[in-house]
Symmetry: C2
Subunit: 422 residues, 2 copies
Amino acid sequence: MTAAARTRTTGKALDLGPAAELVSKEEKHRQPLAPEFVSLEDFSPLEVAYDFGTVRRADIEAGPRSIWRYKQLLPVPSDVEQHASTDPGCTRLIRADNLAKALGVKRIWVKDDTGNPTHSFKDRVVAVALAAAREFGFKVLACPSTGNLANAVAAAAARAGWDSVVLVPKTLEKAKILMSAVYDTSLLAVDGNYDDVNRLATELAGEHEDWAFVNVNVRPYYSEGSKTLAFEVAEQLGWRLPEQIVVPIASGSQLTKVHKGFNELGEVGLVEPSPTKIFGAQATGCSPVATAYKEGQDVVQPVRPDTIARSLAIGAPADGPYVLDTVRQTGGSIEDVTDDEVREGIKLLARTEGIFAETAGGVTVATAKKLIEAGKIDPDAETVLLITGDGLKTLDAVQDGIGPKATVSPSVEAVDEALRQA
Amino acid sequence: MTAAARTRTTGKALDLGPAAELVSKEEKHRQPLAPEFVSLEDFSPLEVAYDFGTVRRADIEAGPRSIWRYKQLLPVPSDVEQHASTDPGCTRLIRADNLAKALGVKRIWVKDDTGNPTHSFKDRVVAVALAAAREFGFKVLACPSTGNLANAVAAAAARAGWDSVVLVPKTLEKAKILMSAVYDTSLLAVDGNYDDVNRLATELAGEHEDWAFVNVNVRPYYSEGSKTLAFEVAEQLGWRLPEQIVVPIASGSQLTKVHKGFNELGEVGLVEPSPTKIFGAQATGCSPVATAYKEGQDVVQPVRPDTIARSLAIGAPADGPYVLDTVRQTGGSIEDVTDDEVREGIKLLARTEGIFAETAGGVTVATAKKLIEAGKIDPDAETVLLITGDGLKTLDAVQDGIGPKATVSPSVEAVDEALRQA
């Protein structure tokens, strides 16, 4: 018996708010809401379809300071904000005039998702996954991960009072293990590489009917959480859509969901529909989508990742083809940048705006720079950059070439001399 | 010529909002607002005095989502929110029912200041210091620090487009240097210990009329930033004061300013005045204020710090006597906890509420536990815990005893077996 079936046999109607059905991305087959992620009709990913009804700005503005203010646009129970959650979201959107000047453009906004509870956008998707998983009757939150997702799952489960299982490759560095293990999750080091860990997760999801693997069996709900980035950007701009946005690409899900979020805001009348060009950012060491884009392909050839931007290092991105569609349809572009450019991107954002991003943020900033220089991003139109994670988690990536300006003896003269030479 | 004199000779009146004068803490001598921190009359610290006028809840609630919503209660220019700033504050106050249950009390609230731009409460005090420093005509933001303060100064200066000078002992670990140096501050490694660095800062503040050392020459303004913790707690509770609050003690400034903040809210009529018992938390390895409290002393004997809670490791806390006054006057208490208890406090908060605090947060949680067990904190009254910094910055402190539950082969059976034994 599936978890969905169990929920239904309790007699309680399934409440996932405005979520109405699942629909397959390829051939648009429809099926009831359930913890399933692939269509058995056309084998394409399943996505949530909605009956939105009336959604008003005033109701959202009067809601909680978290993603739950947008619950009328998410696949979550109507009383979602009543349950203990990490309550992510409502992170800063800052006008980045120093960065804009450095890049020679008119206006840049930085969406700073380092302000989330575990300091990455993964808190958003995990919170939505947990809310849906609770409604489906799951009891354990789980994931395979090497970083941000593990942190977010372990923290969200702790806060909700759930058990969690986090699977990591046993070669993961001690610091990264600590960042998740501190929440007392059942963190298991798996004797294998990340592909082995992922395969194991899919097997376990099939065997344990109480386990919700956030990015496997409840993925259609999980991935909808990324729409909240789009909702917040629009609300923070005064209920309008930006002209251009740069989004980092890992699986590609975030980019497609940001686009979906902008469209839904227009559909329900929360914003005046207007075109947003969507740009994708990859690290050259794992740039299968950028390569397909540049070669004019519709399919994405898998690669073996080799980049410091590990949170983006997915060699076979599930949503790659949909990213290509979205970017082409909106008039955007996809570019990739070297690890040195990533480091420079991190430093540029830090020194201009005081925001220390993880490597994925460096990819976004460096890609924006490259797209501006190539004339693909319009310097006279405004651009939003999504900074999705925190530099404190990828310190090792920037340690070369950053350090004290000088070592001095403890005297005024020594300090003055050092600063003259710096 | 002092910076204050320079501002005044420009003909522009000094605008520090409601701030009216400086007053000495001991004998209440009054003097004009200036970048000075010690009274030449009685050699006690100077503190800001105000003419508040009318302050309305509605104006605050309609203000920005940052500490600037409280500008009518801070020594900052009237147009403070118009200048580029890290815009700290408005961090989460969460109801911590899991933690309350674990501690056997009725209700606990956690003020989670890890959500600030550089993930500690120092962003608050630095933002206020920078705003006042700009008004006084300073051009460079500076500090001696080994951690959170350095991060906050470097980031705030970057965002404001200011130069900054950060002085650290040359023995500081590479990871901690990176966290500040990434903002391209003039970070200087000083050949000496932290006392040498501090002395050098005071000398430099005397020599460089353009340099604002946040915690030296503009300290009276800087320290007022801690009041915003009190303001936010009260507003987030629905405009009322909590019954009990636990505050970590380093210099002791934060504890006294939280008290001052609560009092000012009552004075201007934003809340109904009500008593809040204020409790102080120290690490046993640096507990001069707890020792003085327990011995019934009015003065604090300096100690040589030896604790993992480095952000609290001030052996000669400047505001120690005022902390003793405040705690005794409000009916609170001061307690200290061992490094092992600090680690347990960090883990307890993480596993119950999904918040990963730095060692100072572990001190606060562990002290609360000890005070509850001793019957000093009333289990039937609500308690607020201030969590002032992020665990990602003090990973080394918790690395012992935290790790994977098991190492397993990549099979469902191996996972199940490991979880049965965990």
